[in-house]
């Protein structure tokens, strides 16, 4: 986690560590533990989703059908491809390829922005369709209360995910800048690697959100 920046040709090793190996292992383990906490952070919402889907299955199916699968599906693809770029970015960092690294990080950030833009379009569409709880919510079908509950969970989950994507974009941009300044040269690529783990994790979350929210039941 400690972002070690040093222009020296030797990799920078924190004074608490014996060698770069130990430092890298520690950073990776720390990040994975952090990701475990992230799983449980989202977990509260997944629990709420599970319980209410179990209790109000029918309404959830009906409500899910109103969401835009095209945008949701496209966004899944966008994130998957961004993960590919990220994986290449980590590789470039390890191989000390500065230009490639800058480009790939910027590309990852760009795809993140595409994701967010599509998300914004979709949210707006939801608003126009009166699907936003408390903001002109209208439900023609049965059980408006429980349908509202579905959208509330939908916005909570995708909203929390969107916050994570936004943070991810910011991290990528900062890293791209630092990479451009050559801060990750000479084996100091720890920061890129753990940022990559974060980005892939955010991708995984969406991989679950897409079918659970957009494809409840069949369409």
């Amino acid at each position: 986690m400690s972002i070690s920046i040093s222009p020296a040709s030797e990799p920078f090793v924190g004074e608490q560590f014996d060698d770069i190996e130990q430092q890298r292992d520690a950073a990776k383990l720390g990040m994975w533990i952090f990701l475990a906490t992230e799983v449980l952070f989202f977990g509260g919402l997944f629990l709420g989703y599970t319980i209410y889907r179990f209790t109000y299955g029918h309404v959830f199916v009906a409500a899910s059908r109103k969401l835009d699968v095209l945008i949701g599906g496209t966004n899944t693809a966008v994130l998957l491809i961004s993960s590919l770029l990220m994986a290449f970015a980590v590789r470039a960092a390890k191989l000390d390829q500065r230009r490639a690294l800058v480009g790939l990080l910027a590309g990852t950030a760009l795809l993140g922005c595409v994701f967010m833009s599509l998300k914004a379009v979709e949210y707006h569409k939801d608003y126009v369709d009166h699907l936003v709880p408390r903001m002109g919510f209208k439900w023609e079908g049965t059980d408006p209360g429980n349908a509202e509950l579905f959208y509330w969970i939908y916005f909570a989950m995708t909203g929390l995910h969107a916050i994570h994507v936004t943070v991810g974009i910011a991290i990528m941009l900062v890293l791209a800048l630092l990479a451009w300044l050559g801060k990750f040269a000479h084996g100091n690529h720890n920061a890129v690697e753990i940022a990559g783990l974060y980005w892939h994790f955010v991708d995984i979350v969406w991989v679950f959100l897409f079918p659970l929210l957009y494809l409840v039941g069949h369409r």
Binding site: Y56, H58, V59, G141, T142, D143, G145, N146
Partner: protein, 305 residues
């Protein structure tokens, strides 16, 4: 009710069962305290620094000793669990042939209504040696209906029915406490249960202004609120007849409640979802009265068409 004591009165059938387990646990606790504290005191004296006790061959572990006390604790635990579970099951499962009482909790009072229609606030009159079953709900936050002398307690949840029952064994007055924190006056949400001789209870029921029974009140509502407009044999709407309904396996209070407040949740086979939701239009008491009525007609055979 207001005197100094070290142990609460035992005034219901459950109280003896709970207390028996409580005493068993107390004994077991005393046993473990003895098993732990006595050796500590003994060792502290014998092996205090500088004493001339024999300290040769100290042990720092033994698989058999460890397994022994682990296993012992596990077995004892299972026994205690089983005992607790058996009594719990009895306390939680509502017996049949009970006197029905409806309880609505609100910040900060208990509104109680008897099947005969008699209402009271923060007081509950019951006959001795009869099973009394409460059906409870809350119109705002979570409360909890607690009668220490009966050893019963149950949270009262908004939007749902919970049940609690007891069979009082001694006449007298006992505390009702609200045990779930519910806001500023939580500690004033108290009342009393008055356990009476059956005769006195009958008289009490008849005293005061004459009241309409809960079922009759429900019937009146069924007409006044327009339910009968649809749920009648000759209605122009295609709605199910509710006679005989309660004999079906599903319909508990919970189901009837949902049918009235969230009609779309489970649609009866063969019907359109045209019934409007009555959420917000009926008070908790009115819903309970409607349910009582539906249960009453639900037990009748369906009219032949």
């Amino acid at each position: 009710m207001d005197q100094f004591r070290l142990f609460p009165p035992q005034a219901s059938t459950s109280s003896h069962e709970v207390d028996a387990l409580f005493f068993a646990l107390t004994l077991i606790s005393l046993f473990f305290m003895a098993v732990i504290f006595l050796p500590i005191i003994f060792f502290s004296v014998k092996y205090r620094r500088g004493s001339s006790a024999n300290r040769s061959n100290p042990t720092s572990g033994s698989f058999w000793v460890e397994s022994g006390w682990t296993l012992g604790a596990v077995i004892l635990s299972l026994g205690l669990f089983a005992w607790g579970a058996v009594v719990y099951f009895r306390i939680e499962r509502r017996p049949s042939n009970a006197i029905d009482v409806q309880v609505v909790g609100k910040q900060w009072m208990w509104k109680i209504q008897h099947a005969e229609g008699k209402r009271e606030i923060n007081e509950l009159h019951v006959p001795v040696n009869r099973t009394v079953a409460l059906t409870m709900t809350s119109q705002d936050v979570i409360h909890s209906f607690f009668v220490p002398a009966f050893r019963v307690k149950q949270d009262v949840i908004p939007g749902r029915y919970t049940g609690e029952w007891f069979k009082a064994t001694r006449t007298g007055e006992y505390h009702i406490f609200c045990a779930q924190y519910c806001g500023t006056q939580h500690s004033s949400m108290i009342g009393r249960v008055v356990v009476m001789e059956p005769r006195a209870y009958e008289e009490w029921l008849k005293s005061g202004e004459p009241t309409e029974s809960i079922v009759l009140a429900g019937q009146r509502l069924f007409h006044d609120r327009g339910c009968s407009g649809c749920h009648a044999p000759n209605s122009q709407f295609h709605a199910p007849l509710l006679q005989g309904l309660y004999r079906k396996p599903v319909p508990l209070s919970e189901y009837l409640r949902d049918s009235i407040l969230q009609p779309g949740k489970q649609i009866s086979a063969g019907y359109q979802n045209i019934m409007p939701s009555f959420a917000g239009h009926l008070s908790e008491e009115e819903i309970m009265e409607l349910i009582a009525y539906l249960k009453a007609i639900g037990n009748q055979p369906p009219p032949s068409p």
